[in-house]
Symmetry: C2
Subunit: 144 residues, 2 copies
DNA sequence: TATTGTTATACTCTATAACTATA
DNA sequence: TATAGTTATAGAGTATAACAATA
């Protein structure tokens, strides 16, 4: 009736869930939740961000992110301040503490990525990444 | 500090989130939540399942699934009964109504999959699926 | 005693919408 | 009026653990 084993959303969800669960458990022991890591990683890559850009970058819903960032600010991981130019916008950035913790988690994250890729040839790694990027781009929400 | 654009868990999460959000919105208008669809699709592929097998198949936590299945039984989508052999086990299956609804959603799901793959050559589709399967297998939880 | 599944608790996420402040 | 972000609410997911029934 339905062939799950060749259904792309299933294959993506299954691989993503396994990555998320295992890695999430390990960093939670260090006091960081998976969604918090996603925010830290996005800021480590791109520097300070507007909240709505950060929502797009992390795939986290804006209102969820607003409260998540609030908790992370209270925990001393992030700073949040109104932009100079447009006072409606908010700039979110890592604090020194946030940077320290992010730097401690990065090697763990890279270890999990290597584990996902064990048995892969370097060219296969690059192929998978490129194909996932094309899937993402293909699903760009059409203009309404 | 961190290269998000080449980090596999990020690329998987991003593509999976976009698939899930768009498709989830469309089927919710038809009264089915995304997690419910995952259960329906797993049962449509594999027939009746033990609850713990279904948890593995759908990547849904067992206690979450237990309550989700309870709601779906109350909604008339699933049947749930103790196994003949081992009375601890539970067998979950689609009802006629569940089958009807599943059959109505399958073409929508396939439409989203085709959208994700537009611009893909058939061989590239197969490559992506095979690589995702290998990632999943590589992350098999090691025996403890 | 171990396994399968259910239930409880506390916290978090999601969907939706109302709301504030700024443009 | 539109945009960026915050807050409120209800329902659902998650982590953890206790629990019942069965093996």
């Amino acid at each position: 009736m339905f062939d799950l084993g060749h259904y792309l959303p299933y294959l993506i969800n299954r691989a993503g869930a396994r990555l998320a669960v295992e890695f999430g458990r390990e960093i939670r022991r260090r006091g960081i939740a998976l969604q918090e890591w996603r925010v830290l990683a996005a800021l480590a890559d791109q520097g300070g961000q507007r909240l709505s850009d950060l929502a797009g970058l992390t795939s986290i819903d804006l209102s969820t992110l607003s409260r998540l960032v609030g908790r992370m600010v209270r925990a001393g991981l992030l700073s949040r301040e109104r932009m100079d130019g447009d006072q409606r916008e908010v700039s979110v950035a890592l604090t020194d503490k946030g940077q320290r913790i992010t730097r401690a988690i990065i090697p763990i994250a890279q270890r999990y990525e290597r584990r996902a890729f064990r048995s892969f040839m370097p060219a296969e790694e690059a192929t998978l990444k490129a194909l996932l990027l094309r899937v993402y781009a293909n699903l760009e929400r059409p203009e309404r």
